[in-house]
């Protein structure tokens, strides 16, 4: 008993000693009274249990039920911090040389605008809409994330979301829920983007100052979208202001940007123009000899004309242009074309015209016309000559679509429409220029038409249940002129098994495919804060990339479905649980999915697609299955905002077209795809003490992607050659990286028309040497394994942005 008391005394002494001693000392010297009342800034209600801390001490005091506090302190300078969950903290510095009474109003975070506009659910309707796997990411959020070399990047930011990965740095696109890069429909103002990156994947092509919003559909895809098997990334360009002229721009190490919004006719017609260019070749010239002949430049520009015709009609015309040029040393050239270097040159030109018409309060219609052209070229400048041998290809897509929105009553939201797309593919031409030793070549142009009808209804069955029922019917015709081969039945498709070739005239359908694409969503509300959702999706893809590289190159070949290449069909099942906490400050989601895709394209060993007339002899078709669980928690408001997510996912492929070795991959067994990365963690934190500066940290971790390891070596003519029995059986090292950025807005703190901001970024803060690839080289009979690391040290950059209103 005595011992117990003694211990208690000791404990009390230990805990209280510092605080008590200090307090006693203070009071003994010259105490003043510091008191205050803490209230809600809007309601004026007193806030009880708010924490008052002095000089960042761990120990503090609480306000009472009337929201007041009192403390006696010695004369000194103090920093006082008042905080309360759900409120933005308040900081004040004071010199206590007399009794002070403070009157502090705290701002309720729940009533603030959301800082982080990113969620696995649509923001305001999070728990109530039946859609699953829809992520909206606000461009403001994207701009706050640390960007490599100061270039705000839409695709890199997307990779901070669960279910979105890539094969590594500098990959030409992203993989969404186990889909390949070309299975994503990327739309910029409704026009398709065939190559989403600049400089082989270093930067994405979307002009950040012109993008207003970005919707990623990786789960339930609305019936109005189709043509790709995995996901839809719908990016909208901002409408120009019809009232006020404004200018914004920026300078970074890589590129310079300028965007102007010009009201041409006040309240009627406005124009938005944006441009970005990077012409930093000079840096290479100063580099080591190895880089001397590298030239790299890129640019993109967009314009949008918006015309508010009257209350019921608006019209907009947008244009997008993107260009890239990259030159590298390459000895020998392609086949027997001897060139001094290899140049890649590719550009995109898109136009979108859109007419929006309100028929009545309940019905409106939007009609859109799209023209999209993508032209990649490889140029081979010849030795001692001005001549360049050119290998080029082209995709031309023209599309007309119309979409009705009809809201008959509170219980129904109906959307229906039709869509027609014409594709024209020039798969490859070789132009020798003045070179007499090379023949001009041309692969026949492919033509195709895709027609689609769609209808969708979002029905509120009862206050707890909402369903979204959508149906799309798509029909595709591969059109002549084309020569279609017939191969021996049951035999592999090779040059040796051709038995006949039939020619189809211009406009004649050589093959057609079609089918229904149901889209289903169901939401069931458990209570005001939480809901569960189910989703099912079927999508068909008639245009795809055939590539035998880890990530498709900008010059990779696109291929339409035809008599031998069947369209890809993907089915996705999703289920999710969603919960909002603390007046929507926090959001939590848990989603699981399973996806099966038929007719994925893979390449035969040794396949070559360049200027190949008959792609069917080079590829195999198989199955892919992907499944995963995604967890995400987001804090959307307050001084500290951000999110953290974890994903477990697998992507496995199976190619088993026949019994022969050349018709299977890995003996027809399931094997991990190039982007099968089971574990992934992303974290993003933003500290914004006030509107003048903010700090951001992002962390990302992912399992290393698979690569092919040798099972043995054979010796041939005195040289070792690795023998690879099966594809993708090894893994590169796990990837992780921490980035940091510090944004200082308006450093002069004055309200002027010109507002500048600085962004200081460190990419890969702790200099992790992430493996980009692992490869093997043999020298004589010996072999060595190498690793290629890019961005392997911290990359520091500074960018300046401005706004003129």
């Amino acid at each position: 008993m005595i011992l117990k008391r003694l211990l208690l005394l000791l404990l009390t002494f230990c805990v209280g000693t510092v605080f008590a001693q200090q307090l006693a000392k203070m009071q003994a010297i010259h105490p003043f009274e510091l008191s205050g009342s803490i209230r809600d800034s809007l309601t004026g209600e007193p806030i009880s249990n708010a924490v008052i801390r002095l000089n960042f001490d761990k120990i503090g005091l609480y306000t009472d039920t009337s929201g007041t506090f009192t403390v006696m302190l010695t004369e000194a300078d103090y920093v006082l911090i008042v905080s309360r969950l759900g409120y933005r903290p308040h900081r004040v510095k004071l010199s206590l040389n007399h009794n002070i009474r403070l009157d502090i109003k705290l701002m309720n975070v729940a009533k603030e605008l959301e800082e982080v506009v990113i969620s696995t659910q649509a923001v305001d309707e999070n728990v109530t809409r039946p859609l699953l796997g829809v992520t909206q990411m606000n461009i403001k959020t994207i701009k706050k994330l640390p960007a490599i070399m100061g270039e705000v990047d839409v695709l890199r930011s997307l990779q901070m979301l669960p279910g979105v990965t890539s094969v590594g740095e500098a990959s030409n696109g992203v993989n969404i829920r186990g889909g390949s890069v070309d299975q994503n429909l990327i739309l910029l103002d409704d026009a398709p983007i065939f190559n989403p990156t600049h400089l082989f994947g270093l930067f994405s092509v979307f002009p950040p100052d012109a993008v207003s919003s970005m919707d990623l559909y990786k789960g339930t895809t609305p019936a109005r979208f189709g043509g790709r098997a995995a996901a839809v990334l719908d990016i909208s360009m901002a409408n120009p202001s019809l009232e006020k002229f404004s200018l914004q721009g920026g300078v970074s190490f890589v590129a310079n940007r300028l965007t102007a919004e010009i009201p041409l006719v006040k309240n009627k017609v406005g124009l938005l123009i944006t441009g970005r260019g990077a012409f930093n070749d000079f840096a290479f010239q100063w580099g080591p000899a190895k880089l001397k002949n590298i030239r790299a430049s890129f640019g993109d520009a967009a314009a949008k004309l918006f015309w508010r015709i009257n209350e019921k009609n608006t019209f907009s015309l947008s244009n997008y242009y993107s260009t890239d040029f990259f030159q590298t040393d390459l000895l020998g050239g392609i086949n027997n074309i001897n060139s001094v270097s290899t140049q890649y040159d590719y550009n995109t030109i898109n136009f979108t015209a859109r007419w929006f018409h309100i028929i009545n309060d309940r019905l409106n219609v939007q009609t859109t016309g799209v023209f999209s052209q993508y032209r990649p070229r490889i140029l081979l400048p010849e030795l001692n000559s001005d001549n360049k041998v050119t290998i080029g290809s082209e995709i031309l897509q023209r599309q007309v679509k119309t979409n009705f929105n009809y809201i008959p009553n509170k219980r129904h939201k109906v959307e229906f429409g039709a869509n027609m797309t014409h594709y024209q593919l020039q798969p490859g031409t070789l132009n020798p220029g003045s070179n007499q030793r090379v023949n001009a070549q041309s692969v026949p142009t492919e033509n195709g038409i895709e027609l689609a009808l769609h209808a969708e209804d979002e029905i509120t069955l009862n206050p707890k249940t909402t369903v979204s029922v959508g149906l799309r019917y798509s029909y595709f015709m591969a059109l002549g002129p084309a020569a279609v081969r017939t191969y021996m039945a049951g035999a592999p498709l090779t040059e040796a098994t051709v038995i006949d070739s039939v020619f189809y005239g211009s406009g004649k359908a050589t093959k057609s495919y079609g089918g229904f694409e149901p889209r289903l969503g169901l939401r069931y509300t458990l209570n005001e804060q939480s809901s569960i959702k189910f989703g099912y999706n079927l999508m068909r893809q008639y245009l795809q990339v055939v590539s035998n590289t880890t990530t498709p190159l900008p010059t990779s070949r696109w291929k339409m479905s035809d008599s031998h290449i069947r369209p890809q069909v993907s089915q996705l099942f999703t289920v999710g649980y969603f919960k909002n906490l603390k007046s929507n400050i926090y959001e939590f989601s848990l989603e699981a999915y399973y996806r099966i895709t038929e007719n994925i394209l893979d390449f035969k060993p040794g396949a070559d697609f360049l200027l190949q007339n008959y792609i069917e002899t080079q590829v195999l078709q198989g199955k892919s299955k992907a499944y995963g669980v995604e967890m995400m928690a987001t804090k959307k408001r307050g001084e500290v905002t951000g999110w953290v997510n974890y994903t477990y996912s697998r992507v496995l492929n199976q190619v088993n077209q026949g019994t022969q070795f050349t018709e299977r991959i890995n003996d027809g067994k399931w094997y991990p795809s190039n982007f099968d990365r089971p574990h992934s963690v992303n974290m993003s934190l933003n500290f914004a003490e006030n509107k003048y500066h903010s700090l951001s940290l992002t962390f990302t971790y992912g399992t290393g992607r698979p690569y092919t390891i040798p099972n043995g070596f054979v010796s041939f003519q005195g040289k070792a050659y690795p023998y690879y029995a099966e594809r993708n059986q090894g893994r590169i090292k796990d990837y992780h990286r921490l980035d940091f950025s510090w944004q200082i807005n308006n450093p002069s703190l004055k309200d002027k028309r010109w507002v500048g901001s600085w962004i200081f970024t460190v990419y890969n803060l702790y200099g992790r040497k992430n493996q980009y690839s692992v490869f093997l080289k043999t020298q004589g009979t010996a072999y060595t394994t190498y690793q290629l690391q890019i961005f392997a040290s911290p990359i520091v950059s500074l960018a300046y942005n401005f706004k003129f209103m």
């Binding site: 070399m149 990959s171 082989f200 190490f253 890589v254 930093n280 000079f282 840096a283 290479f284 100063w286 580099g287 190895k290 880089l291 590298i294 392609i334 086949n335 074309i337 070789l430 030793r437 090379v438 023949n439 070549q441 035998n548 590289t549 880890t550 190159l553 060993p605 070559d608 070795f661 003996d667 190039n674 092919t708 099972n711 043995g712 070596f713 054979v714 010796s715 041939f716 003519q717 040289k719 070792a720 050659y721 690795p722 023998y723 690879y724 029995a725 594809r727 493996q771 980009y772 690839s773 490869f775 080289k777 394994t785 190498y786 690793q787 690391q789 890019i790 961005f791 040290s793 990359i795």
Partner: protein, 373 residues
């Protein structure tokens, strides 16, 4: 200027890293494949030699074990069958009277001692045009070190021209053999050459010498190309091909060397196999690399499609030309001694040093090669 220099410098550093952070990676593969490896050609110049071996892989090591005692034959399209003789361990050859004919198909068929039967696809012997011209060019910076930055030696590069025929699809492979005069016939590492027995005897010393010994008779070392040099006429059909690089001959001495160049006309399938083989060893780690594939050719176990065989049995028309590589007319070449270092002969004392015979092997010959100047 300073203002511009700073960002430029940063980009420079970044790009430097971006493109050149290639390091060796210490990874241990568990090599366990035991692979039947078959290689051979029926040629219109001489008959066929087929090598049958097993590539064994144990942990980190691999070696090739000749497969003795196979029963092998070549079946022609005209129905005739030629049995192959095992001329040395794992090497099977046609009789001297046998010669491939243009237009004929050939198929390899063999049974291993453990009773498995294998067959190649039928390969048709095509034609190959003659070599029109062979010429050489001096490259003072021809050999670089492993990093690819430091010049180690000069080379004489040999090129050839030929006319591709217009009416056929043609696929080319080039091989060469090179003869270099060699006067060192043995090196005794840490010892001296025993006078009578012709063997090296170790010397017990902290720093034993390494001595080279001269050849007893004239001797030539034989080198073979080990890069797969291929061309398809896809883009150049019917054109004359000029300046095809065939060999980079290192500057071993000012004396000449004899190069035996073979221009081989392949079938498309054989070409694709060699291309696959070449692609396996020429990866650079960038995303433009084609992911590796098993190097399986046209030979199959007739009873078990899952039994994988490495290698290719082809039929090929060949043209062989001997070319004398002149090395004495060039200015300031950087020499690379044949041994990779200067020869270190044992000092002359009474009765010493002894000499060592030039022993005939795949890589050495005492017989003066035809065309040696």
């Amino acid at each position: 200027m300073k203002k511009r220099l700073f960002p430029a410098l940063l980009i420079y550093l970044q790009l430097f890293c971006l493109y050149s952070c290639v390091e060796t990676y210490d990874v241990t593969y568990s090599l366990d494949a035991n692979l039947l490896t078959v290689e051979g050609f029926v040629s219109d110049q001489n008959g066929a030699t087929v090598s049958i071996s097993i590539s064994r892989n144990v942990e980190r090591n691999y070696y090739s074990q000749p497969l003795k005692g196979c029963v092998a034959e070549i079946r022609s399209g005209d129905g005739s069958v030629v049995a192959l003789q095992e001329v040395s361990e794992g090497m099977y050859a046609t009789p001297a009277t046998f010669q491939g004919k243009v237009g004929q198909t050939y198929q390899l068929h063999f049974r291993t001692p453990d009773g498995k039967t294998y067959e190649s696809s039928k390969e048709q012997l095509g034609t190959v045009p003659a070599i029109k011209k062979i010429y050489q060019q001096f490259d003072p910076k021809g050999v670089l070190d492993k990093t690819g930055k430091i010049v180690v030696g000069s080379t004489v590069d040999v090129y050839l021209d030929f006319d591709d025929p217009k009416d056929t699809k043609n696929y080319y492979l080039w091989r060469w053999k090179r003869y270099e005069e060699q006067n060192v016939c043995i090196t005794c590492d840490g010892g001296t050459l025993n006078f009578s027995g012709g063997t090296c005897v170790k010397i017990n010393s902290r720093n034993p010498p390494t001595y080279d010994y001269q050849c007893a008779n004239p001797c030539w070392d034989v080198f073979y190309n080990n890069e797969v040099n291929l061309l398809a006429d896809d883009f150049t059909n019917g054109k004359s091909v000029e300046g095809r690089l065939i060999a980079k001959v290192p500057f071993h001495s000012y004396k000449g060397a004899l190069l035996e160049i073979e221009q081989v006309g392949l079938t498309k399938d054989a070409y694709l196999y060699y291309k696959l083989l070449r692609d396996q060893s020429q990866t650079t780690g960038t995303l433009t690399d084609t992911p590796p594939s098993p190097i399986i050719g046209n030979i199959q176990n007739i009873n078990d499609p899952n039994d994988k065989v490495i290698g290719y049995f082809g039929a090929a028309s060949t043209r062989v030309v001997k070319y004398w590589v002149e090395r004495n007319n060039y200015k300031d070449p950087i020499l690379i001694p044949l041994l990779g270092r200067q020869a270190n002969f044992e000092p002359i004392t009474p009765f010493r040093p002894p000499v060592y015979p030039c022993v005939l092997s795949k890589f050495r010959t005492p017989i003066k090669p035809q065309g040696w100047q």
